[in-house]
């Protein structure tokens, strides 16, 4: 049975289905972009009249007076909230960065076989613990522990939430850092080992320099995670407006402020718009952090 040459042009059902699917999955593909733009548009839509009207940028960044519910003179100084977020995130990174980088080096370079697999699974499970559970741990376990250990009246504050946040961020940083170390080609290690270097020399002189961009990305994503964490910080930080001077001070974070107050702020009121303004601020900062991490990783791929 010979088919005619003209049949080559006939477009059957399969051809049209293929084109339709290509269109559909393209929509799926760009949906991520649509959503990220949507997030920005919708939080801006709720907050922009405040941003361009009432908001005094000087006050926002320099005043510690966050009194949105004041009857006659509401003020919107976010400095204390920014300081709260910064102090908690800072302490968390102080705890988490060395431990997670150390753990990443151990898992990627020293551990072998079953130990390695078991550790990886364990770290992955740790990363899955929900933030509200961490908050509960801060309230129910860490709080009395800190009171007992340091003989302070209350255990909720920078120290408590910093440690909790550190424990939360560490598994994620460990996973990403380990991936970055694994991405260093084995050829580098073998070349150095062939020259008689010990494992530690190989790590310090070859693996760490080659993987440093990925490690930086891991730290940045950890910072982003700490910065954006809500429930755990809300529950473990004590939630009072303060410029912290000691690790035992109670503080209030940007994220926690939104979570605590949005329920009581009627839509369209200044307070409600001010909370969305905090959201815009958070969105922009985390966007920059993620962008920086992405650029750091891309540096690795090019190098």
């Amino acid at each position: 049975m010979r088919r005619s040459v003209g049949d080559l042009d006939r477009r059957g059902r399969a051809w049209y289905v293929d084109k339709a699917v290509a269109g559909l999955v393209f929509i799926g593909g760009i949906s991520a972009i649509v959503f990220i733009i949507g997030i920005f548009v919708f939080i801006t839509r709720e907050g922009w009249t405040f941003v361009f009207g009432t908001l005094d940028f000087g006050e926002f960044f320099t005043s510690i007076e966050w009194r949105p519910t004041s009857e006659n003179d509401p003020t919107y100084g976010a400095l204390a909230l920014i300081a709260g977020t910064a102090s908690v995130t800072g302490l968390a990174m102080l705890v988490a960065v060395p431990f997670s980088l150390g753990a990443a080096i151990f898992i990627a370079e020293f551990a072998t076989g079953r130990t390695r697999e078991a550790l990886k699974v364990l770290v992955e499970l740790l990363a899955a613990i929900p933030s509200v559970v961490w908050g509960f741990i801060g309230l129910a376990i860490m709080n009395p522990l800190i009171i007992d250990l340091f003989d302070v009246p209350i255990g909720l504050g920078v120290l408590n939430s910093g440690i909790i946040l550190g424990l939360m961020a560490a598994p994620i940083m460990t996973t990403i850092a380990e991936d970055a170390l694994k991405a260093v080609p084995d050829g580098y290690r073998e070349a150095a080992e062939a020259m008689g270097a010990t494992k530690w020399q190989v790590i310090r002189q070859v693996v760490l320099p080659a993987g440093k961009n990925g490690l930086m990305a891991a730290v940045l994503l950890g910072v982003g995670r700490g910065f954006g964490e809500t429930m755990a910080v809300l529950m473990a930080s004590g939630h009072s407006i303060n410029l912290p001077t000691s690790p035992f001070d109670s503080v209030r974070a940007l994220t926690a402020t939104i979570a605590a107050e949005l329920g009581d702020a009627p839509r369209g009121m200044e307070h409600y718009q001010a909370l969305f303004t905090l959201g815009i601020f958070l969105f922009i900062v985390t966007f920059c952090i993620n962008l920086a991490a992405d650029i750091a990783v891309r540096g690795v791929r090019k190098g």
Binding site: G38, F42, G102, P130, S131, V132, V133, I258, A259
Partner: protein
């Protein structure tokens, strides 16, 4: 000769010290969490029973069980999955099978990273602004689930894309050479061999959505509700928000109820996660080529 071996000896010792140091750090990272889990199990375990799971909470949660939050979480997760799995799988198919290497693809990848990186409370604000207010779903399961769906979309996309890319290129080329269209190739050869990987991603997403609090607390989850939801336009209780409420806002809450609720929530999440990991390990051992 002697000097060289002394140097070697020293190097070996340095290496041993560092190995021990990093090993210790790993242990210190893991151990506190295991202790905490132990405490949760010890204090919450006695409270958890069949009755606890399936009795409605009363007296603001001080008595009774966790029926409403438990069922509510299932509602939220299921509706979120229905929304996010098709979109996520489509996006992953596009990125793995169609996307050329260009600026748009890079932009999509950046958007995915950002969807995963935007703080959960910002997702909540978006959910309020978009679904509760603009689309007029009100405080409802639908609004909360859609917020969850967008937030967890990267989980599905990344897992699906990885499992699609694990299917060797040679299979696609063989199909194209036979005159199969791209879609026929995906449907007959690529998807069937990636479906289990996609499933592990979906399980992971279930685990993520079940534990989230911030994105649902202003969009669909409420602190107390004496009945179960009957449709997606109603609000609901949820496990995560319930744990927040009873541990943070309700005075004189019996410890065993708090610990019991925390234990149930963390068990749900970790069992799902462990299942996803176990499934992945099982698949690794079961090669089809």
């Amino acid at each position: 000769m002697f000097a060289a071996s002394a140097l070697n000896e020293r190097n070996r010792r340095v290496e041993g010290i560092y190995k021990a140091l990093f090993g210790l750090m790993t242990v210190l990272l893991v151990v506190p969490v295991l202790i905490i889990l132990g405490v949760l199990i010890a204090k919450g375990g006695p409270a958890v029973s069949f009755e606890f799971l399936f009795t409605p909470p009363t007296d603001q949660g001080r008595q009774g069980g966790i029926l409403m939050p438990l069922i509510g979480t299932i509602w939220l997760v299921v509706v979120a999955l229905i929304a996010s799995v098709p979109i996520g799988v489509a996006a992953a198919i596009y990125l793995s099978e169609y996307a050329p290497e260009n600026w748009l693809t890079r932009l999509i990848n950046l958007a995915i990273i950002n969807l995963a990186g935007v703080p959960s409370i910002v997702h909540a604000l978006f959910g309020v602004g978009a679904f509760v207010v603009f689309f007029e779903f009100g405080i409802s399961i639908l609004a909360a689930s859609l917020t969850l769906a967008i937030m967890t979309l990267p989980v599905v996309i990344v897992a699906t894309r990885e499992s699609l890319q694990a299917v060797p290129m040679a299979f696609r080329e063989a199909c194209w050479n036979m005159g199969a269209t791209r879609w026929q190739t995906i449907r007959k050869v690529v998807l069937p061999n990636a479906i289990s990987g996609i499933l592990t991603g979906v399980i992971l997403e279930v685990s993520r959505s079940a534990g989230e609090t911030a994105p649902i607390m202003f969009t669909g989850a409420v602190t107390f509700l004496p009945f179960l939801p009957t449709g997606v336009l109603e609000p609901t209780m949820a496990m995560s928000l319930h744990l927040f409420t009873i541990s943070n806002s309700v005075p004189n809450m019996p410890d065993e109820i708090k610990y019991g609720t925390a234990l149930v929530l963390i068990s749900m999440v970790l069992i799902m996660n462990a299942a996803s990991i176990a499934f992945r390990v099982y698949l690794r051992g079961k090669k089809k080529w």
